[in-house]
Symmetry: C2
Subunit: 333 residues, 2 copies
C-alpha cells in the first residue's frame, strides 16, 4: 500500500489516504519520495479550478527521491538512483510528438496528479521515460522545483533559440520567476524583472536580474518600448498585455507559462506592426529536463525553498495559497 | 508636376490632384507608373479607419512601372528599368532593423501613402532601396499585387521556416489569400483553404489548395483539430479564433496578416497546452520581395486581376469595396 495525502473534495483539506498501486508494470518505476515541491497547479487541481476533477486527488508533481524498484523492462534506471518526476508520469510513446522526443506535447500524456496519484506520498509510480536521473552536484532538498517550475521556464530558452546577449524580461518573481532569473543570467542574457514591490526589486537583482521595472507603473513600462526580445510571463492574473507587448522589439515574443484564466485581449495591430508573437508552453520534454539539470550543475543554480514536513502538508498548502512564499514550498520526508 | 488622384476627406471620392515633388533627392528614384493595384489598406487610409489621416491622400502602394529618373547617388537602378514599389517608400537606414536588412520592421519607415504621395498618379517617387527591380518573365500587368498582397503572405514562409510537406491553411481567399494558395502549393506544402462559399471552394482548389474547409461550419473546423503547422489569416473580420487555434498542431502558429480591428480574445490554455503561437506581420523587406519575385518566375505564379483605367479610379475603388473582386483590382495606364 502507498501512504499518501489526498483531497477528497474541491478545495478540501488533505487527509491521509492509502491505495494499492497493484503490480509494478514492466515499464514502470516506483520512487521512494524524499521531497516534493508544491506548485500553484497542485492548488488549481485540488480546487477543480480548471474544470471538475475526480477525487480523491493526490497532488505533488515536483517529486525527488530514490528509485525503490523498477519494472522488468526498465534498463536506464537502477534501484537506489536519485531521480525526479514532474508534471507527466507517462506518454503514449507512439504519436508524432513522442516519436520526435517532444513527449511533453503528446496529447495522450498522463498528468502525474490527474487520473494518477502524485507525490504527496511515501511512494509514487511513473513510466520509466517520465522519470529523470538527477546528476551529482544537485542538492536533492532543492531539486523538486526544477521538475515543474524549472523546466517550465527553461524550455522557452531552447524552443525559441534564445542567445547570450538577448534582452529578456520576466513578469512575476515567484516559484517560476526566481528560477527564470537565474537561468537567464547564466544563459548570458540581459535580464529585466517586472516586479510590484520595492522588496522584490532587491531580491530580483540578487537572483540575477540586471534591471527591474515596476509592474504597477504604466509610465515606466511605456518608457521601455521596443526593449525586449522575449518576455516570460509567470503570473496567473490578467495584466494590461498591450502595455507589455509594446515593450517587445520587432520579432519579439510575449510568452505565457502562467495559466491566466481570463482571455488575452491582444491588439492585432501590435502583432502586425512589429511582427510580434504571443505564445505559451508547459513544462518540457524529458530530454529538456536532462539539459536543464546539467545546466543547473554547471552554473550552480539553486531553487530557494521553504521546507515543510509531509505531516504539515495542509500548513504548507496554506503557505502557498498566501502568495508570500520565498519562493517555493517543498515537503520533506 | 505629378498628376495624381487624391482623396480630400475621409471616405471622399478621389479627384484629380497635381503636386510639385520638388528636386529629385540623391537617393531617390522617380517611377513612371504603368500599373497600380488597389489594396484594402488603401481604403482604410482613405477612410481614416486606422486613425485620423492628413488629406489630401494619394493612395496606391502596389506600383509597377519604369524608372523615369534616378538621383545622383542611385547606382543599382537604371532609367527605363521595370520596377515595383510597395507599402514602404523609404527607411531610416540606420536602426538595428535596417542594419540587418529588416527594413520593413524599421520604426521610422515611410509608408508610401501616409505622409507621402502614392501610386494613383502618373509618377511616384521613393527611396532607391524601397524600389525593387522586376525580373524578366513577370507580366507587368499582373505584378502590382505582388508588392503588397504578395510579399505579405510570402514573408511568413521565410520567417517561420515553413518547409515542403508542412500543413498550412489560409483563412480568406481574396487578394492576399489567392496568392498565398499559389505560393504554398509551389512551396510543397499541403494546403487547406478555409472558405465560406461553394463557388470559392472550387476556385481555391484551382488556385492550389489541396483541401477546403467551410469557415462557417464549426463542426467541420472542430474535426480538423491538431491538423496545421501554420494558419495564415488574411481576413479583417473577427472570427472564433479559439476554434481555429484548436486546429493547430503542437508548436503550430496562427498568423495574422489581415488587420482585424477587434482585439483577439485568445485563451491562454490553448497556447500553453500545445505550445502554440499567435503572431502577425506586415509586408516584407526588399530582400524578401526580391526572393518572392524569383520564386514567382520559377513557379509561374500569377495574380488574378480585374483591370480598370486610372480615369475610372472611383469605379475601381467601389469594386474593391464591394468585396467581390476576383481577386485584385489593378489600375492600368
Amino acid at each position: 500500500m502507498i501512504k499518501a495525502y489526498a483531497a477528497f473534495e474541491a478545495k478540501g483539506e488533505l487527509k491521509p489516504f492509502e491505495y494499492d498501486p497493484g503490480e509494478l508494470q514492466s515499464n514502470e518505476v516506483e520512487i521512494d519520495v524524499h521531497y516534493c515541491g508544491i506548485c500553484h497547479s497542485d492548488l488549481s487541481v485540488i480546487d477543480s479550478e480548471w474544470g471538475q476533477m475526480q477525487y480523491p486527488i493526490v497532488p505533488g508533481h515536483e517529486v525527488v527521491g530514490k528509485v525503490a524498484s523498477v519494472g522488468s523492462g526498465v534498463s536506464h534506471l537502477k534501484v537506489g538512483q536519485s531521480v525526479g518526476l514532474g508534471w507527466h508520469a507517462g506518454y503514449c510513446n507512439s504519436c508524432a510528438c513522442c516519436e520526435s522526443g517532444d513527449n511533453n506535447l503528446c496529447a495522450g500524456a498522463q498528468p502525474t496528479i490527474m487520473g494518477h496519484h502524485g507525490g504527496f506520498a511515501d511512494k509514487v509510480r511513473a513510466a520509466e521515460n517520465s522519470v529523470v536521473a538527477i546528476p551529482d552536484g544537485i542538492d536533492l532538498a532543492l531539486a523538486g522545483p526544477l521538475f515543474c517550475a524549472g523546466v517550465t521556464v527553461f524550455t522557452p530558452l531552447l524552443e525559441f533559440d534564445i542567445k547570450a546577449g538577448d534582452k529578456v524580461a520576466v513578469i512575476g518573481i515567484g516559484g517560476l520567476g526566481h528560477l527564470a532569473l537565474q537561468f537567464l543570467n547564466a544563459w548570458g542574457c540581459e535580464v529585466t524583472a517586472f516586479t510590484s514591490s520595492e522588496s522584490k526589486k532587491q531580491e530580483a537583482l540578487s537572483l540575477g536580474a540586471h534591471h527591474t521595472l515596476d509592474s504597477r507603473n504604466a509610465d515606466e513600462i511605456d518608457n521601455a518600448a521596443a526593449s525586449f526580445d522575449l518576455i516570460i510571463s509567470t503570473v496567473n492574473v490578467k495584466l494590461d498585455w498591450g502595455l507589455y507587448l509594446n515593450t517587445l522589439k520587432p520579432r519579439g515574443r510575449l510568452h505565457f507559462v502562467g495559466a491566466v484564466l481570463e482571455p488575452l485581449d491582444i491588439n492585432v495591430f501590435s502583432l502586425i506592426s512589429a511582427q510580434r508573437s504571443v505564445s505559451g508552453s508547459a513544462v518540457g520534454s524529458p530530454a529538456t529536463i536532462e539539459k536543464m539539470l546539467d545546466f543547473v550543475v554547471q552554473h550552480n543554480i539553486k531553487a530557494v525553498v521553504e521546507p515543510f514536513s509531509f505531516e504539515n502538508v495542509n500548513e504548507a498548502i496554506a503557505r502557498v495559497r498566501s502568495g508570500k512564499t520565498h519562493y517555493r514550498v517543498v515537503l520533506a520526508k
